[in-house]
């Protein structure tokens, strides 16, 4: 579900080089205007975040994929392994941000409305209350050193909700193969610096006003079925 938002188009590679075509990625459009999330997140931040950061991840991911393709075709094992960090960083950045844009919604369209139904019950069961969950995510996000993400995850195997953090642009699966991201909050400085400067806790407190619980509920219901 989450990856459905990634728009892909096939590119025809030159026939002389190899017969496989490489799937490249493009920047997904935001489902709302840049300024629609104010005052929680300013329009300037949203614009830069989407047009510059996410676009750079997509561009560099495509570049790394092309290099990977060439290395795999040539059988260059060393080259393949050397590309892994660039793939993880740029690919992870693309995956994470694609989920992030779905996690946000303007207040006028239902952003910030608490979860109902199955997800609401699960949150009460696993964390006690929504307030407790929010407090936990905020404290883990504020304590994260450097850059990273804080996630509300569903552990498909154990069938419980968890709060996890990942450093830099590592996707959630690096913390556990059975983890499915329901909500991700970007705590890289670029996500809040222009508006909140170094006060990350304020950013975390305010972002809950624009969190799209409906999307999280949909993913939860689909993955826990």
């Amino acid at each position: 579900m989450a990856l459905r938002s990634v728009v892909s188009r096939k590119t025809l590679a030159p026939a002389l080089r190899h017969y496989r075509s490489l799937t490249t990625f493009t920047l997904p459009d935001l489902p709302y205007d840049y300024g629609a999330l104010e005052p929680a997140i300013s329009g300037e931040i949203m614009r830069l975040h989407h047009q510059k950061h996410h676009q750079t991840y997509v561009t560099n991911y495509n570049k790394a994929l092309e290099q990977l393709d060439a290395a795999v075709s040539k059988g260059d094992a060393k080259g393949v392994v050397q590309l892994q960090s660039a793939l993880k960083f740029n690919g992870g950045g693309h995956v994470n941000h694609s989920i992030f844009w779905q996690n946000l919604k303007p207040v006028s369209e239902g952003g910030g409305e608490p979860p109902h139904g199955a997800l609401g019950w699960a949150i009460d069961k696993d964390f006690g209350s929504l307030e407790a969950l929010v407090k936990k995510i905020n404290s883990e996000g504020a304590a994260l050193q450097g850059s990273g993400w804080v996630w509300l995850a569903l552990d498909k195997e154990q069938k419980i909700l968890k709060v996890e953090t990942t450093p830099n642009q590592d996707p959630l699966v690096t913390k556990g193969v059975s983890l499915v991201p329901l909500l991700g909050v970007d705590v890289w400085e670029h996500a809040y610096y222009l508006q909140y400067k170094n006060v990350r806790p304020d950013y975390l407190a305010n972002i809950w006003n624009v969190i799209n619980w409906k999307y999280a509920s949909e993913v939860y219901e689909k993955e826990s079925a």
């Binding site: 450097g146 850059s147 830099n168 670029h190 610096y193 170094n198």
Partner: protein, 327 residues
């Protein structure tokens, strides 16, 4: 009779030093041991037994001074237009000061409070398993270093030894800039980019290279994540570029590459980097000498032990007495 001249290091009077004052006598270990055990007996008054002092009565040692935020070497707007006043102010006032305050809060009352900052960084790194206050201690050190690396009207070219080493180890200043750019752009996340002087050490742990060569004492470009610095790898840092986003976001947005090239063209103080290099080379060579001496002493000790173990003769061979030279 002329008074006997005393040996400078042990204080033993040696009668034959009377005539030749330039003769420097090195006392043997046995003489020094003798000195140490008998010196107080000759001259000191009988020692009275010291009464135990009630600990409550003495004044407690004053708490060590908390760390203070080091002032910037230039005003906030001195680095404009390359680094805005706002960036410098927020960076120093909020981030750097925040780390100082957090550090003081954590170490107050602990044994770490008396340590020097550099020592604290190395100790708290704990060989890769950092203690909770490592990030604060290291960031305080890194930021102090960072502010001093820059100066208003910076840029230009390095000179003298620094220039020679850059050309030897990188080819040219442009090559060095390219490598620094590459390191900055591949530091995926927050961190720092450094130029460091690497003394003769293997890249593994802190091992001494058994076969040192001129190539070991070289300049290297390193990148470190989050708060780590090359101090923990026993390198001597020469310059630091902060590539945490807070260092450049307000001026360059996401264009980290532009920020780094402006840093190298317009902000860097090559004089400071040269001074650090001089200092690093001096400390590295001093340390090398000490280590060589220690290795030699160890070898001698081993050799002596080996000889003792093999010596199975029932009676030691009588050694001829040294002839006393008559002056």
């Amino acid at each position: 009779m002329q008074p006997a001249t005393a040996c400078a290091s042990s204080g033993l009077t040696i009668p034959w030093l009377r005539r030749c004052s330039s003769l420097r006598v090195k006392c043997s270990t046995s003489q020094r041991a003798h000195c140490a055990s008998t010196s107080t007996a000759d001259t000191a008054e009988p020692i009275e037994p010291i009464e135990p002092i009630d600990p409550i009565e003495t004044d407690p040692e004053p708490d060590p001074e908390p760390f203070k935020l080091k002032p910037l070497p230039y005003p906030f707007n001195a680095l404009e237009p390359h680094m805005s006043k706002e960036t410098v102010e927020y960076h120093w006032e909020r981030h750097h000061r925040g780390h100082v305050d957090s550090l003081n809060a954590i170490i107050q009352g602990t044994e770490f409070a008396e340590m020097e900052l550099e020592n604290m960084v190395l100790t708290s790194y704990n060989e890769g398993n950092p203690l909770p206050f490592f990030v604060h201690a290291s960031q305080v050190w890194n930021h102090d270093f960072f502010w001093e690396t820059m100066k208003p009207g910076g840029g230009g070219n390095p000179s003298n030894v620094l220039k020679y080493l850059i050309e030897r180890d990188f080819g040219s200043l442009d090559e060095l800039a390219k490598e620094i750019q590459n390191a900055a752009l591949t530091q995926f996340g927050s961190g720092w980019v450094w130029l460091a002087y690497k003394a003769h050490r293997l890249g593994v742990g802190n091992d001494i290279n058994p076969r040192p060569s001129k190539k070991d004492k070289r300049l290297v470009v390193v990148k470190t994540p989050n708060a780590v610095s090359p101090l923990v790898w026993d390198y001597y840092p020469l310059l630091a570029i902060d590539v945490w986003e807070h260092a450049y976001y307000m001026d360059y947005e996401n264009r980290r590459g532009d920020y780094v090239s402006v840093f190298l063209d317009k902000l860097i103080s090559w004089d400071v980097v040269s001074d650090r290099l001089k200092n690093a080379m001096f400390r590295a060579s001093k340390r090398e000498k000490m280590e060589k001496r220690e290795m030699l002493l160890d070898k001698m000790k081993e050799a002596r032990l080996r000889v003792k173990a093999v010596d199975l003769r029932p009676t030691p061979k009588a050694r001829p007495k040294m002839k006393r030279r008559q002056y």
